[in-house]
Symmetry: D2
Subunit: 477 residues, 4 copies
């Protein structure tokens, strides 16, 4: 689960869609779904709804910067009348943090209206934009969703249905995307053929759901139906229930799920493509205990993201699990940063070691990843100042070495602590007695050994050719 830590990878988005065949308003259900997906994006959020029995082409939407519970008041929800809707939470790099870029995107086109929410990153968005502009398109945002929307709108002219237009658009757009589209009478979900980003289907009585994660289904009391397959398009309507178009589906071996969804992004109570996120984290901890054992008195996690793996380490090794730090639950994104030495000081405000727990002890500290390493040394120092005799760090992912083109915000290569450094050198920098990472061979095992995964950020080998120009954040800067 994502914290406000600046040295963490950032997920791009979470999507949620609802269609209540009985005609009840869905805005507040979307609200609760987005609350459960908030860890996937804390910068902006939005809800768009439509009344399937009302005038075709009428969409009501509300979008704003900030967290879900900041952006929506009861008055907002009250006004959003409609039995079909989509919602979105978003994270973005600094330059693109404008209200205009908030999703869902709502648009009028030749066949009425569309509401569109997506999670992911296209690698050919710049080319597609240029092509569209040369045929008279105008762009009002800098998000890929607008490119996708244009393609759907244009393909719709030659298609018999919206879902057919979505399928045609999928032959043009390349990259990572999980998509929820609301047309006047249908809710459509689609996932890129590699399946980088998760998307699943839920059901509660006569209401159907599409969601980035199963935890949002639990929150709204829906039961999990199944995952959307990588490459699949599902169309939900009262007439036909769930229809599936699998013409873009690849062989399972060719799929490439983002492994960081399991390691860090997703909530531990979610299941992605049949695998429990909690389980995969416990397992990562167990692997660390097997592959990088160390004699110690206590296993602790760096809160919150390291806790599950730490429990796994404890279970496997028999070394007791304890609480090494208190994380201040009241210090969010908005507290006033100390003026000087802000990086260092802010950690002290957020985290405090529990002296009694670690004093005189040999401590194994587990975190999910090290990116720049800017906070790790501070945390290690804290433990030593609190009396820890030894500090051994174990990381539940391999060293992070390459950029991601598929929707995860990663710093430039030369800012990655593992770039051009041995594990020993990193250990010296952050001041641990020992340090080790999850072995890259263990990644497939984390997800049961049967799912295709993307390991690009560890190996530099990507499931599809990365773009020649660096398109990450191009339009945002």
């Amino acid at each position: 689960m994502q914290t406000e830590n600046n040295d963490k990878l950032k997920e791009e988005c979470g999507v949620f869609g609802v269609y209540d065949f009985d005609g009840h308003d869905v805005a507040s259900t979307i609200y609760y779904g987005l609350l459960a997906l908030q860890h996937r994006g804390q910068e902006s959020c939005g809800i768009a709804v439509s009344d399937t029995n009302g005038p075709k082409g009428k969409v009501l939407s509300s979008k704003d910067m900030g967290l879900v519970n900041e952006a929506f008041t009861p008055e907002h929800l009250e006004k959003l009348k409609g039995d079909i809707g989509v919602g979105h939470v978003r994270y973005s790099t600094a330059g693109g943090s404008t209200r205009e870029n908030a999703q869902p995107l709502v648009l009028n086109y030749v066949k009425g209206t569309l509401g569109l929410a997506h999670n992911g990153n296209l690698i050919n968005a710049p080319e597609l934009r240029r092509e569209l502009e040369y045929t008279g398109a105008i762009f009002q945002t800098t998000i890929d969703s607008e490119v996708i929307a244009y393609h759907i709108a244009r393909e719709r002219l030659n298609s018999k249905s919206v879902e057919e237009a979505v399928g045609r658009a999928m032959t043009k757009i390349k990259g990572a995307y999980s998509l929820v589209v609301m047309s006047p009478r249908k809710l459509i979900g689609a996932r890129d053929p590699y399946g980088f980003k998760p998307l699943c289907i839920g059901k509660r009585d006569h209401t159907y759901f599409l969601s980035s994660e199963t935890c949002a289904l639990d929150t709204v009391g829906a039961e999990f139906v199944r995952d959307v397959l990588p490459g699949e398009i599902v169309t939900i309507s009262p007439e036909k229930g769930i229809e599936s178009d699998t013409s873009h589906v690849l062989k399972p071996a060719d799929t490439a799920r983002c492994i960081f969804e399991y390691i860090y992004f997703a909530r531990p109570d979610s299941f992605i493509d049949g695998i429990s996120v909690y389980d995969s984290r416990i397992l990562a901890g167990k692997f660390l205990a097997m592959d990088s054992p160390v004699d110690a008195d206590l296993v602790i996690g760096v809160p919150e993201s390291g806790n599950c793996a730490a429990m796994g380490y404890s279970m496997q090794s028999g070394i007791p699990y304890g609480m090494g730090f208190v994380k201040n639950a009241y210090v969010g994104r908005t507290f006033i940063k100390p003026k000087q030495k802000s990086r260092e000081s802010s950690v002290q405000v957020k985290l405090n070691p529990i002296r009694e727990a670690v004093e005189g002890k040999r401590v194994i500290m587990i975190d999910d990843s090290i990116v720049r390493g800017t906070t790790s040394d501070r945390i290690v120092k804290m433990l030593r100042e609190a009396g820890a005799k030894e500090v051994h760090m174990r990381v539940s992912s391999p060293p992070f070495l390459w950029p991601c083109y598929f929707g995860t915000d990663v710093p430039a290569r030369d800012q990655l602590i593992a770039y051009n450094r041995s594990v020993k050198e990193i250990s010296d920098i952050i001041g641990t007695d020992s340090l080790d990472y999850l072995k890259i061979e263990r990644l497939e095992e984390l997800v049961g050994g049967k799912l295709g995964i993307c390991k690009g950020c560890f190996t530099g080998k990507y499931p599809m050719e990365p773009p020649a120009e660096d398109i990450r954040g191009d339009f945002d800067k």
Copy 2:
């Protein structure tokens, strides 16, 4: 000048554009310009700027609901770095009051970026939308500006310059519009061939301005250069200064300015097409004194909009001008309305008669117009309760009888008090001892006898064929 009175006509918008050839930031200048144009729209406002020396295609903008001084903080202005920019204030009917519809519109297209602010109403917007959609356009707002923007963007593919594209677009769009367009290196102004809405050019050192009214030029310390001609396109750039394209300009006799700009909308310190708004109002009062004289002790205006004409009446008749009411300057749009009998009570909160001024007197009360008449009877009653012996009302415009298709928000015909009623009947309803309107023959004289004006709302005869379907607010409902 517009008040919050519900029984007043509503102007649609005000536009403002600035280009500083010396490269200084223009956002705060636009801010002050918009403050001076606030009477033209109080619902939403926005500023978009660009750095002509920066990367082509980078526009920064900030738009929000509310008044200019509510929507912008110093932090907002600080962030809006750029030496060219456009600003907008907007009024709209209820349905379309959403943040998405706030202007300026900012877009990326084949040739970079455009910022666009417009004032007016197209009468063929629905057809144009449909045509655009059939060629793959998507719409994210319900404002006409987006239709105009699409036309400019598409014509740009076959044009040598933005201004040429604006000219080509003008052959397609029909209706009332004054337009300010910011391209990466040029500021462009255009006015529809009828000249419904005002637009003028200003200059301060090496900085050029486009503004709905001259009062905004005064506010920012710029000198008035000239009005943009009806049908003219002006292009402002450091290389060529002000260039003019007059190929769309009609014969002066065929132009059709909105006469309500002089009677009510514009600020009295503005000049429109060479005519002082103050003067035209004083003149209207004088005509009323000549054409509808009455023996009385005092002339008063209904604040603020009736004051100028009341002074004119006083000057012509020799009857002293006095203050009949105090208008509460602290009661804006946002005060809490009384729960019951709200219409009636709210007037009491906003206006209070000055008993000492009117007691025992025969009073001539001047207002600029009567729309529904819902407040006039209350005001007359107030004067009588304050002791006025007689109340004679004079209105500085003719009876309002027909809809407007060109950018003024008018209630349905059957809600107009003058519809199907004689002046005597209206006088009885609002309880005056006598009532008279400005004679329709006087309208040309108000503006010096040389300018073409639109009298459609008084006569039902419009300068161009009104649309068959009622397009007013169509997309907003």
Copy 3:
């Protein structure tokens, strides 16, 4: 009426009290009353109410910084349940602008609760504070109201009633005050023996009112009953209606009303001690026309405060009254000030001359007063730039030369433009062709020749000995 002009005197406060014998809630009535008194103080405001049939000692209050329509939401008013209440609007010097100092003051004491709102300034507050502290008092604000409250609370121990305690307190406190006190079952009004500040009684069915000005009675639909006499204590209760204690009332000749209430502070639709404020201002203009005539083409007022006197001048002289400036109604206290040369620039944002009205004309410009003179020269310059041939200024009060100790915020003597300068010198500084002030002999005539007035700020002779130490704002700095 007060504007946001920095070169204006500031009133200290407005008070309002309501008691509805039928038991209806009074909070929203107080809200509308305060809206009508807003010109008397724009810095903070508050409402306190009590239920006379509820548990003794329960007062609900809401106070905040800002204007009445900013500080109160419908939810606030909804929560303020009670049939008796007091309200307050406040202006203060910079140092004391804290939320803690907002009124009404609400307190528990030996006999239950008190709500207290006052307008004025005590000259012996520091001594009284010290005395109280030596007998164990603690102070939580820096306002005089707390000193008054303590005296009432302590005198109550030896009094048979609250009103008796108020009377006893009046023997101790010295200076200017109009007081509204709410006890659990009574509404009490009191005015200092000199009558510096106004206070009047109103009635609507079974509801009684106390108000600083009659305009607030008009606003809430109440009829004026009578003024509270200088030195009088009135007690309003369902049992006895209005009771009066006149034991502190002085001979009329010894009273000393603040003449600036008539000249500038009060709203022109108010009556104070039987005199119409509008009338007194018209009269001031007439006196100026008689005593300082000048040949000219047009009379204008500096908006808004100079308008009434300008009308009077026009009536007396026969020179037409016109509008010389447009004042931007949307520029309030909160707009973003221009960074450099802020004083000068801000006037340009707020005021713009009407060129057509003044060009080529000899103009007589009327203002109510000149304090520092910092804006007068700018306004005169504006008129000349707009083409005025001559500018003659007339001021509807005498030169301002001495401090005020009784509730008006006046700058230090050396900042007053009239201090140590002849009228000719002042005229040269502000650049007028001629300048004259109202003759000091005319002041009594303004209020009908029968009311005692304070002329201290013009003559340095005060109705009571001013304090040795300068107590103005003492606790605020």
Copy 4:
């Protein structure tokens, strides 16, 4: 640590004081201190500072409703100039949640100014108020702090120093209090003789601190000096450093610390009177494992408050510790509650079980207490629905049976689930397979066996006679 759970006991307050002998501003340090104490009160907060080298009697303060990071902006902190200061976070029952009641209390009295922050509840406040009123006191708040302030102010008249006055006041006030007082040149801390509430001293270079908990010292980088003794008064000044007055100190055996500080209120990284809060919770878990063992597969805590005891249970029993629930970190006090069945639904939004962790398992679930029991049954149900085979609940405190008069907000007796019910009956109501509480005999052991503790809420036997009338919240209703 406190959550937003409605079925939790509420702490009343946290206090913090700083004196920087080098003269640097302390407001931002207090801000960070309060952030660390936020778990002790989330309803209102405040900071008051003074410049010890400035004019005596000048205190700047800022107080507001809401969390510390909501109530303070950088501008607020910037304005609070001063090298000595006190801060406060507050929780209160509904009726008293007004801005007026926010602390610190700031007052002027005979010897200058005082800033006062306190944590606790007096049991003789009503009598003391009445006495004070009969000698001329007025009260502007309904908090006990004002009663304490009055006593200090009055005793000061006959004392040689503020600290002497504090000592004299302590002979009058009865109940639970930890007090931080700022006089113009001294920072004073005091703790009631029973030591109900914690208070400790810290130091960083030449800066001294008083704090409710040591975790706030850690946060601001100060080292722990020592606890203030129950009954002790400490006076901190540059001249004499820390002075101590122990004349009110009782025998250790007579002291009566609130045991809930250890069990639930305080942060686990704090030490109170030499005992680690973390340790005491781990120990509670171990005692539960010893005294109420059960065969099971997994130990989990109800987040966050049950986690430490769950770890202790795991350590003692050898049963693995796991994560049973995900708590949504983004759902705070302010999210929109579901309209119907709100109690039940809200739990689902906040907590979600981790199916993979508990499915098919025999689970031991630890919580710190059960008050009404309204959420326990729902949580147990969740676990069963997630597949738990057995659910055994263990509670790390004894059954809660009696009211608290000393600063903890407890529901009425008949709302306590343990009232008149056997453990078996409670187990049946909440649906557990087994349930047990910490044995009351274990309480002394939790804190090392050497500290006097208050067990009133479990036994009904209080360290001092409770008041005849129920004074809890008396002035708030």
